[in-house]
């Protein structure tokens, strides 16, 4: 499958009220690859993701999908191309997994259209892909944090979009579940060529899983490129203000950031 959907941020400026968060930022999302947006707290990375998902309109500049401005396209049409997993979605009380995942079919259903065979197939495929088929009839309230996160990812998958945006998909998960979720996303990317853009806190996990790193600093793209090239001690110092040493991860060969506290200067 060749996917050529082009998602581009064209000199966008984003603000909440008077507070400027992102300042004339330009970014081309690499199609079919995994992009991780990293940066210090409050640097505007989640805001950028919201803009890419058309949840926030730029004050100036535009987000362009396949040559057309995102906000000028019907939102349901966009929802069939771009899926988003927000930071803290809410599960309605008592809902079972299959139904929650089925909510992802919303953009594919008309005002009065009935539930179709294609809907069922999409939901079944999403449950299989995320490995939660056996939970289909369980109530979401009973699930663990890691299982829940899989359910939400499954919902985004059922949306059957070529681009998937995720806002910190690993927060509140322990380290095993973090790896599990990221492995799942990598599988998706390989099997279907889904373009994945995610905001990640952990620079080491980002280096390990992403094909492209976008380092955001004070509302602008500070550096962009493959982890091996971009993630350096210099970058960590400029973006996070942290003194560190970057070595090659003995397992993967990807960069591994070792922070240097004041007490560990050799």
């Amino acid at each position: 499958m060749t996917l050529t959907h082009q998602l581009v941020a064209d000199e966008i400026t984003l603000a909440y009220g008077d507070r400027l968060v992102v300042d004339e930022l330009a970014l081309e999302v690499a199609p079919g690859r995994i992009t991780a947006i990293v940066g210090a707290n409050g640097c505007g990375k989640s805001t950028l993701l919201r803009a890419l998902a058309r949840l926030l309109s730029p004050k100036s500049g535009q987000v362009v999908l396949d040559g057309v401005e995102l906000n000028s396209r019907p939102t349901k049409e966009v929802a069939r191309l771009i899926g988003l997993l927000p930071q803290s979605p809410i599960a309605p009380e008592g809902i079972v997994v299959a139904d929650l995942v089925g909510r992802g079919r919303h953009p594919h259903q008309g005002l009065f259209a009935r539930w179709s065979r294609a809907d069922d197939e999409a939901v079944a495929a999403a449950l299989d892909a995320t490995g939660i088929a056996d939970l289909a009839d369980r109530s979401v309230d009973e699930l663990s944090g890691g299982q829940r996160q899989r359910v939400w990812i499954a919902m985004a998958l059922a949306q059957q979009t070529d681009i998937l945006l995720l806002d910190e998909p690993t927060t509140f998960l322990d380290v095993a579940h973090q790896i599990e979720v990221l492995d799942l996303l990598a599988d998706l990317n390989r099997a279907r060529g889904t373009t994945i853009v995610m905001v990640l806190h952990d620079l080491n996990l980002a280096s390990r899983y992403a094909d492209e790193i976008v380092a955001v600093c004070r509302g602008r793209v500070h550096a962009l490129g493959e982890p091996g090239v971009v993630v350096t001690a210099e970058l960590v110092s400029e973006v996070f203000g942290l003194d560190s040493e970057v070595i090659a991860d003995p397992l993967t060969g990807k960069p591994l950031v070792l922070p240097r506290g004041r007490h560990h200067v050799s």
Binding site: R50, P86, I90, G94, L100, L111
Partner: protein, 341 residues
């Protein structure tokens, strides 16, 4: 996992819901039938049926056709409207306590009506219109005041509570000045009552329900998506602002017409949604079950209020007596779990 097993589970849940809705309808019809038969004079099912079919039955034609029937129809419609509007607000604001009676919209109607009854000595029709206007103006004010760089449910709820407090003081100011006779009329209205129901009073509410209920039902998928949070809903292709505006307008109009016709029948808007949520299978839209539960509450409450308690109570007192402990229970439960509806 195959689509077929998935479908089986979904169809099973859907059938359960269809069964539930059918059950609610049967229960509602049963209570309606009893209401039509019972009263100062008892009429047999046969007589009631003949009246309904348009035959002239001496005595029954007037009592059933002109007194009991409009009353029970008003009760059903008001309950339906309250139930639907309540669940719409609770779902949209993702808080089971955020029903229109708690966030000030009904209080707006009440304040207007009390002013109409006590200060302006208006007749019944004029009071209804004033109440309608009161609800609409209050809802607009609350929505406008809570808009600050976008919409936030929590802010809307809190501002609604503040506005309600102000309007409450208007109500009590007017009441302290009223003559005892007016106070009784006003209290009766404030509790919500089906007394004096007539076809003229039913007509505007019926018309409003006929337009607004299908409109809300047609947006039920958007409403379901909103339960996942604003960001998730937007990502699924819900146009937040127009959708929210449409839902609020429809729900407020339903509340306003129902309140104008029957007074702010206590806690029906509040109770119907959570009860419906309890008995509905997962994933189904709550709009229709909540509407039916609302109708059932009002009609059954009126029956109890008229004949089961010794004195004749207006329906709002009965629903209030049921609603108060239920509200407290829900408050404890929802706070403890921190969950949304």
């Amino acid at each position: 996992m195959t689509a077929t097993t998935l479908r089986a589970g979904r169809v099973h849940r859907r059938q359960r819901n269809a069964l539930l809705i059918a059950g609610l309808c049967v229960a509602l019809l049963g209570v309606v039938a009893v209401t039509l038969m019972v009263g100062n004079t008892f009429y047999s099912p046969d007589e009631v049926l003949r009246v309904l079919l348009g035959e002239q039955v001496p005595g029954a034609s007037f009592t059933v056709g002109e007194l009991r029937l409009p009353r029970v129809v008003l009760g059903m419609l008001a309950g339906l409207a309250f139930g639907m509007a309540g669940i719409t607000f609770q779902t949209m604001l993702r808080n089971p306590l955020a029903s229109p009676d708690i966030i000030g919209i009904s209080t707006g109607a009440s304040a207007a009506a009390v002013v109409g009854i006590v200060v302006l000595s208006l007749d019944e029709t004029a009071v209804s219109f004033l109440a309608l206007a009161g609800a609409l103006v209050t809802a607009t004010a609350i929505y406008g005041l809570s808009w600050r760089r976008g919409f936030a449910g929590a802010r809307l709820i809190l501002i609604g509570i503040g506005v309600a407090a102000m309007l409450h003081s208007v109500v009590s100011y007017v009441l302290t000045r009223a003559a005892a006779w007016d106070i009784q009329a006003a209290l009766q209205w404030l509790a919500g009552s089906l007394n004096g129901a007539s076809w003229e009073r039913v007509a505007p509410l019926a018309l409003a329900t006929l337009v607004l209920a299908p409109l809300l039902v047609s947006r039920r998928r958007d409403l379901d998506a909103l339960r996942l949070g604003d960001d998730a809903a937007a990502a699924l292709g819900v146009r937040l602002r127009p959708t929210r505006l449409l839902l609020i307008l429809a729900a407020v109009a339903l509340i306003a017409f129902a309140t104008a016709a029957a007074g702010p029948i206590a806690f029906v808007a509040f109770m119907a949604g959570p009860i419906a949520a309890r008995i509905t299978a997962s994933g189904a839209s709550l709009l229709v079950p909540a509407a039916l539960v609302g109708a059932l509450l009002v009609v059954a409450g009126d029956l109890v209020g008229q004949f089961a308690l010794g004195t004749r109570y207006p329906v709002g007192v009965v629903t209030g007596l049921i609603g108060a402990p239920y509200l407290v229970y829900l408050l404890v439960r929802s706070n403890r779990s921190g969950a949304s509806l």
